[in-house]
């Protein structure tokens, strides 16, 4: 009975997200591929907040689904099928929230989400595309009078140009490890270098942020930063992959619809077996991704024995496959796919970003081998 109720809730969520994407995002896809974002995109963000997509994973008393990843996956994949930039915003926020909750900072999260009457207040920027374990941390924290101050640069902070706050990792002197700090980006000691010009996800921009002794709040305990990160990373990787999975679904559907209409050599191009095979591969990738991700979300939410391996299996597959599959998505449309007549080229660019979430792809595969093969 309980399971039925949950399944129904998820169905309703999916329906609501699809309606939202069709109404608020689809009509203005072309103009929403830029920063500063259009008024319509800003309105769509506010509407998504109103619909609680930005708090979908929060505890139930904060109107979320109580830490479950599947509802987030539903939101992300359905939205990203249309517009991955919006998906990336929701993802970034959810990752930052999750780290803070893992660090035990429930009150702060509640405070931020509760008070928000304006979208910027709710957004928490986060360097989603770096791995503090792998990449050099260029930010240092100093403790003075019981308060922390940050100095240095946080690189590639996603939503940096639009959020009120950022959650960033920083090192304390020469001590090993790192901690996570919540910092107010409106402080005069924080200065964003402006939106980074990048391949894709233009409406979800990143920036390098310089801190010059900016006061910041430590989340949880300093020495536990790597643990918060690792726990969050594996749990949230399928969510990142859901954005890429959405891109694959979108790319496959647009290719299919075009190939049914376009004629060359006297027949619909879908009737050329070589092209049909490309479409078949695209479908295979999109559906395999969907099945793997569904399985991964359920394993994570049920804390099943192999949840981490299932999460990694799905994520590694989807994040890598999306780059190839969206390239085929352009190919299927020929010259039209390469131009802004279609959204295939945008999906291809966006997919490149997803591949680097939580650090670059090959180290992730090596980590997968370590976990999956126990070696």
């Amino acid at each position: 009975m309980q399971a039925d109720k949950v399944a129904k809730e998820y169905q309703m969520l999916e329906k609501s997200v699809r309606e939202f994407a069709a109404k608020m995002l689809r009509p203005r896809l072309e103009e929403n591929d830029r920063y500063p974002v259009s008024d319509d995109f800003a309105k769509a963000v506010e509407k998504a907040m109103e619909l609680e997509y930005f708090s979908v994973m929060l505890p139930e008393d904060m109107n979320g689904f109580g830490g479950k990843t599947l509802p987030l996956g539903i939101v992300l994949s359905c939205i990203s099928e249309t517009d991955a930039a919006m998906g990336a915003m929701i993802l970034t926020n959810a990752v930052a929230q999750e780290i803070m909750l893992t660090a035990g900072e429930t009150d702060i999260v509640r405070d931020i989400c509760g008070k928000a009457d304006w979208s910027r207040e709710l957004l928490i920027a986060f360097p989603l595309l770096t791995d503090p374990e792998e990449d050099e941390i260029l930010l240092s924290a100093k403790k003075e009078d019981g308060k922390y101050r940050l100095s240095g640069t946080a690189e590639y902070v996603v939503m940096g140009p639009m959020a009120r706050r950022a959650l960033v990792p920083a090192k304390l002197g020469n001590e090993p490890g790192y901690g996570f700090f919540l910092v107010d980006l409106d402080l005069p000691e924080s200065s964003s270098q402006g939106a980074i010009s990048s391949a894709g996800l233009h409406a979800c921009p990143a920036s390098d942020i310089k801190f010059m002794g900016a006061q910041a709040r430590l989340m949880g305990r300093m020495e536990d930063g790597p643990r918060y990160y690792e726990q969050t990373c594996i749990k949230m990787l399928p969510a990142a992959a859901a954005v890429a999975g959405g891109l694959m679904q979108g790319s496959m559907k647009e290719a299919l619809s075009y190939c049914k209409k376009r004629r060359q050599g006297g027949r619909r191009i879908i009737d050329w077996s070589e092209l049909r095979l490309i479409l078949s591969d695209m479908l295979l990738a999109a559906n395999t991704g969907r099945i793997l991700l569904d399985n991964a979300f359920r394993a994570v939410d049920a804390h099943s024995a192999k949840w981490a391996e299932d999460a990694l299996t799905a994520s590694v597959y989807v994040l890598e496959t999306a780059c190839r599959q969206t390239s085929d998505g352009i190919q299927a449309l020929g010259g039209y796919g390469y131009t802004k007549h279609s959204f295939q080229e945008r999906r291809f660019r966006d997919a490149q970003h997803l591949r680097s979430i939580f650090g670059s792809a090959v180290p992730r595969r090596l980590a997968y081998a370590k976990l999956g093969l126990n070696c």
Binding site: L129, Q331, G335, E345, F348
Partner: protein, 502 residues
């Protein structure tokens, strides 16, 4: 499916050997001085690349991303000032007369930094190459004279190829597809010329070019039998260079829409028409196919050169990154996986280069370059003074029977086996190299992670630019079919092309 395997040999040893060892034959047949010419041209490209393109490529890409209507005229002016639009125009037509294979090496150099700039130059030679493939000597002489004059005056005179239509992309150069397709560009024969109606899309350099080699059809129901190739000049009444595409990459090189509205093209600008091939030993359809096979033999070798350059550029940026970046306190380059990936990228760049070299050797041995690379012709063109050559050309052009004879010989006297060899290799070179370049771009992005996404490093630009290589000059799917048609199917009478059996 019934299957009876006969002992019929489908590939002879000779085919396999001769198809794939053009370089061996070239050792003795091609003029030795070509190597020196190639090095001269490579040095010109390197200088241009370092002095002009590298410092600006990324900024220009950003500028056009912000304003898709922007046209980098200053790049065209600079290429013109440096003589790049006459580089391979034969001396007899007033150009600098560097051998055509040198152009591939030249393009590779420039493409290693910016495919957009490389395509500006490459698409000009694609247009000119189309005209040359029609063997209409008076028209070639006229257009070349203008190109040379444009260079002298500092206002570039460029040529584009206008083939693709809104409803006809892959179909247009493939008679087997074309006749079942939906072309719409109509050329109605009238007294003194043709009246053209229709439109062309995705035409590289449309906004920069003075001349547009336009493929149109007298009868839309019988396109391959009635194809005409017209040299349309800017300013012609009823002709308009309309919109400019917003596209993902190669932003410096515009892709344009051309519109023909009752546009009259006089006979002197008709490069090829069914009237002209009447009485030849081959049908107009066969000549159309041969012309595009010849053209693709060289233009696809050209795209292969672009791919080789782009693959090299991707390799170079990944190498620079791996050599400097540190992960967990050590240089990235000290990871074995990085070393193997760099080796793979190096391989892709080199294999792409070898492919265009081989394709160009084939073009020299049996294809469109053959005449120009015959040693007596080559050395005569190289060492005789320009004034003498132009006097000789003037005389020859006065002899209609002579120009007619040359044209007839070139258009209908071809050896199908040789055309198959060059066209097959061109197709192979194009799809293999562009796939390799795309792989390199993806590998570079993967290795660089978030850094690779930053516009300022140029890696993501290269990825956007490279994807086009798999699409234009025949999509890679069509190129595979061309390889099959030319090199595999020739001893298979039962093989049918573009007729699905499933």
């Amino acid at each position: 499916m019934s299957l009876s395997i006969s002992n019929q040999r489908l590939t002879t040893m000779e085919d396999w050997f001769d198809d794939n060892s053009a370089s061996l034959k070239a050792i003795s047949s091609q003029p030795g001085a070509m190597a020196g010419e190639i090095m001269e041209v490579v040095n010109l490209a390197r200088k241009f690349k370092e002095e002009f393109i590298r410092p600006q490529a990324i900024e220009m890409d950003k500028r056009i991303q912000e304003d898709h209507s922007y046209l980098p005229e200053e790049w065209v002016d600079e290429a013109c000032r440096r003589g790049f639009f006459t580089l391979c125009v034969p001396k007899i037509f007033g150009g600098q007369g560097y051998c055509f294979p040198a152009l591939s090496y030249f393009m590779e150099e420039i493409a290693s930094v910016c495919l957009g700039m490389a395509n500006i130059i490459g698409a000009h030679y694609l247009g000119l190459g189309t005209l040359i493939c029609t063997w209409n000597l008076p028209l070639i002489a006229r257009v070349c004279r203008e190109i040379v004059e444009g260079e002298r005056s500092g206002k570039a005179c460029m040529v584009s190829l206008a083939m693709t239509e809104p409803t006809s992309g892959s179909d247009t150069p493939e008679p087997d597809l074309l006749d079942k397709g939906q072309v719409a560009c109509l050329a109605k024969k009238e007294d003194g010329g043709y009246r053209v109606n229709g439109s062309k899309i995705f035409i590289s350099n449309g906004h920069f070019s003075t001349w547009h080699m336009t493929v149109a059809f007298e009868d839309l129901a019988r396109p391959s039998e009635t194809a005409v190739i017209l040299a349309v000049r800017n300013g012609a009444k009823g002709f308009q260079v309309a919109g400019k595409e917003s596209k993902m990459g190669q932003l410096a090189c515009p892709a344009s829409e051309l519109v023909f509205n009752d546009c009259f093209i006089p006979n002197e600008q008709v490069a090829l028409s069914p009237d002209m091939t009447r009485g030849y030993s081959r049908t107009h359809r066969e000549i159309y196919q041969h012309l595009f096979d010849d053209l693709c033999s060289i233009s696809r070798a050209g795209v292969c050169a672009l791919s080789a350059g782009a693959a090299r550029g991707a390799y170079e940026s990944a190498l620079a990154f791996a050599a400097m970046a540190k992960k967990k306190g050590d240089y990235l380059i000290n990871s074995e996986w990085v070393q193997c990936r760099l080796a793979e990228m190096y391989k892709n760049a080199v294999v792409a280069r070898l492919l265009y070299i081989e394709a160009n050797y084939a073009n020299g041995n049996h294809g469109i370059y053959k005449g120009l690379q015959a040693k007596p012709v080559y050395y005569a063109l190289r060492y005789l003074p320009k004034s003498f050559l132009s006097w000789g050309l003037g005389k020859a052009l006065g002899l209609e029977w002579l120009t007619g004879l040359i044209r007839k010989r070139q258009l209908s006297g071809f050896n199908p086996g040789m055309v198959q060899r060059t066209a097959g290799l061109g197709a192979l070179a194009k799809f293999a190299s562009s796939d390799a370049a795309c792989e390199n771009a993806q590998l570079a992005m993967e290795m660089m992670g978030a850094k690779g996404l930053r516009h300022e490093l140029g890696t993501e630009k290269r990825l956007r630019d490279i994807k086009l290589l798999q699409i234009y000059e025949g999509t890679n799917q069509i190129c595979r079919m061309d390889l099959f048609r030319n090199l595999i199917a020739r001893r298979l009478p039962q093989a049918k092309l573009y007729e699905e059996c499933v």
